[in-house]
Symmetry: C2
Subunit: 208 residues, 2 copies
DNA sequence: GTCTATATTGTGATAGAC
DNA sequence: GTCTATCACAATATAGAC
């Protein structure tokens, strides 16, 4: 484990994460990043040369983290229901700490479409790994034969959207922060039930 | 019906929608809006005074449209399964034409949290209308007694997230535009099945 | 109402001392 | 490596002619 104090470069990167995640590329200010890191603006340029480079570093870090966590859960020895439960439990707690992360990644894809391609080549990530795992488990454990791709997207939708749309939900329904916390706690148990119910419903039709 | 040619003010607003929707508040440039409208930059300020005002007008327009459409479907005489199918069919076609709209609204809530409050007061919109309708139908048509709020969020999640995350999905899975079109077509029929299956699954447990 | 020209401020980036 | 000072330009906004 690394117990040393964070280097200047690390402090700048941490500050950049905070600012880019919440404000996006266009909204971020190099000045604010410098302030957040407790250094001068010029020093930010010294380490990362320009805004574009710094953003790239932040985006890659964010994507790596999310992928690593998803893989950690979905590529494991757990049963399918356990995976869904674990995945949701992880997302509630992880995203409540990093509620800006998924929206940051989504927005970055619109602002800088090409950037993900480079990253995908660099890191060890094949979407097939995830899909194959789901396909086999849905078939062997639940005895269903349905497209795992839609199942996968459905699971992600039900996990991520409620977090991403939090300010919208909270405003429209006039929920307090405490009510929102309870809402997300409820989803931890309710969402797996919803998903597994849906999958069981296919049993009648998929006997082909 | 209004057959007259669009006024200058209308042309500017249309241009502003296009630019704000795709680039967000920070990314938008008054110059680009002026170009898009075919007028001079100064004229944009003449009609809307500043960027903030123009953005407000665009955001309000977007929110009104989305709410109007959701109400049109959910507050109707259709049965619950019909509502879900209609809603999804509408969203596939509507969002494929305006794929930037939901993300624009979500982002605006982070950038300008207070703005929605004003709008909600102005327009005729009560979230209870939507929830009450769902609650009654789930109970009377499907004979279930579950929280309509989570059902409502689940439906929205399954509709909106796949559209919002399109660039991410397309890049990760290396899908062509044609494959993405087919993906969304599939969802039009698959998502209602998924949702209704999930709801039926509650029948066993909710006999209290 | 619509334009050109300009004011004014903000912001990414660099030069150069220490 | 870290700072201060400054450049260069981009972007919002306004003044004033027509």
């Amino acid at each position: 484990m690394d117990n040393s104090l964070p280097s200047t470069e690390e402090r700048i990167l941490e500050a950049a994460k905070k600012v880019f995640h919440t404000r996006g590329f266009e909204g971020a200010r190099m000045q604010e990043i410098a302030n957040e890191a407790g250094v001068n603006k010029a020093l930010v340029h010294y380490y990362f040369r320009n805004k574009e480079n710094l953003f790239k570093a932040v985006f890659e870090d964010a994507f790596r983290r999310v992928v690593a966590k998803v893989k950690e859960i979905f590529v494991s020895d757990l049963t399918f229901p356990e995976k869904i439960e674990t995945f949701l439990k992880y997302y509630i707690s992880y995203l409540s700490q990093n509620s800006y992360l998924p929206l940051f990644i989504i927005n970055s894809m619109y602002e800088k479409p090409g950037q993900l391609k480079e990253i995908l080549d660099k890191i060890d990530f094949s979407p097939e790994t995830l899909l194959v795992g789901i396909r086999e488990q849905v078939r062997d454990e639940l005895h269903l034969d349905i497209d795992p791709f839609h199942v996968y997207i459905n699971i992600l939708s039900l996990c991520i959207f409620p977090v991403v749309a939090r300010p919208l939900i909270q405003t429209i329904f006039s929920y307090s922060n405490e009510q929102m916390t309870r809402f997300y706690e409820e989803r931890t148990t309710e969402t797996p039930v919803f998903i597994l119910n849906a999958l069981k419903g296919y049993e009648n039709n998929s006997a082909k």
